[in-house]
């Protein structure tokens, strides 16, 4: 069976995956205007600064929207239905991460559900995922 894909970091995103492998959900933040960014950006889209760093977030979140995928062409996802979601983070309005919602039946996932991060080991990487809080 085909393995699920691993992330392929770029210099811009490498700190995100490095933090994940330490068990931390760490997102990019502008040191000039304090705005969070995800996915990572080369320049702050809010103030234009290039002084960006990665800082840990709480790891608590809310399912903003989701889908349960029943038929998938995605490599390694050929079996049971799975839930993919955008998770809204409390640190900033509009700040969200993409993940699977696990550790519950997919059909129990709802918009507004409180979730918390955990890390799935996949090869050399640790993949942030979320489960019911």
């Amino acid at each position: 069976m085909t393995a699920k894909p691993q992330p392929q970091p770029t210099p811009l995103t490498e700190p995100y995956w490095a933090a994940a492998s330490q068990g931390k959900l760490s997102l990019q933040r502008c040191t000039a205007c304090a705005v969070w960014h995800h996915f990572p950006v080369p320049r702050c889209t809010s103030c234009g600064s290039d002084a960006l760093t990665f800082e840990p977030v709480s790891g608590h979140g809310t399912v903003e929207t989701f889908t349960i995928v029943h038929r998938s062409f995605a490599p390694g996802f050929t079996g049971a239905p799975y839930a993919m979601a955008w998770i809204a983070l409390p640190e900033q309005a509009g700040l969200r991460v993409f993940a699977n919602v696990t550790d519950c039946l997919p059909e129990t996932v709802t918009i507004g559900m409180k979730v918390t991060v955990w890390f799935e080991q996949r090869g050399d990487f640790a993949l942030p995922n979320f489960r019911p809080a």
Binding site: P5, P7, T13, T65, F66, V69, H70, R71, G94, N100
Partner: protein, 387 residues
Amino acid sequence: MTPSRFHHAVITGAGCTEFSRESGRSVLELAIEAADLALADAGMERGAIDGMLTYQLGDSVVCATMARSLGLDRLRWHNDIHGGGSQCASILGEAALLIEAGLAETILIYRAMNGRSGKRMGQIGQGAGDGMEEQFLRPYGFLGPAHLCALSSQLYMHQRGLSADDLAELVIAQRAKAAKNPRALLRTPLTRDDYFAAPMIAEPLRRLDCCLETDAACALIVTSTRNAKSAAQGRPIHIRAAVRGGGPGIAAMDKAGADPSAIFSRHVAPLIYEAAGLAPSHIDLLQLYDAYSPLILQQLEDFGFCEPGELHEIVRDGRLAQNGRLPLNLNGGLLSEGYVHGLNNVIEAVTQLQGRAGERQTPGASMALCTGFGGSMGSAAILSVEP
């Protein structure tokens, strides 16, 4: 009413190959056939073409190959535009611009694809940005446009209190229209039971909420009004306005600013009405991009054809039917006719405005809205019978 933004550009011909799931022919052969059909429809010879535009994502044939194959030796402008469905309406604006500027006189627009037997649209990535985003999506099993749409539609339907019943009504109604379209891939009437028996792909999208990967080519001829007077077989159709735009996130609708349910129409609707100097009340035919059924609901609201609270009603009260006040996707749309990256929906608008749609003709439509979807980026064009 403001006159057309483009004074000299009209659509005078359209052509489509057979729609199938396995053409058994090359994309180039399909493109040539569609081009010749469109030329014949416009009453023109190949040599009249001096401009060429196409768009591509997945299977395609490029302009240089087409020009060589058609034996053209005096092309004055051509362009291979990157992109899929979001281009199907704005490409009319690009053709009109070239004609208004005097850079070309007669433009062939085409889209050719073996979308089922060649490169399947459902299995390719979005091709947007620098590819950096894939590492945050693919490891979670995110792949292709259905997943993108499912995520935004789920939230939109939740916000508006819409259910699978509403989608069922839309899809059943659309199939009924396709029954009158000899070109449509799916013409068998649907029941509610058929709808709910269809396998779930990615909630809320069942298989019947998704367009059909199709092998086909479609082509249009856009020419100057001067040429059109002598050449047109059908009534020349005016391109009143076209826009192409988008909101935050561009192709990645899922992280589009404050509301991840927002699709292109939220951003493009005010732009097209402003560009055309028109209001929703002027429009009497809708050919809305419907690669996934929930997109229709969002566009009906965003383009001002109903209030959010009316959505449940509009799919049931006959307004969108062939003889309704707002006839919608009379070819059966991308869900039932087939999927040639939206250009087939645009061709239906032209055919209807020309009064040549046969059994599926809506009476007296004179102003049509066509749209193209690509996440939070997309396009719209308003076509009309009068200049």
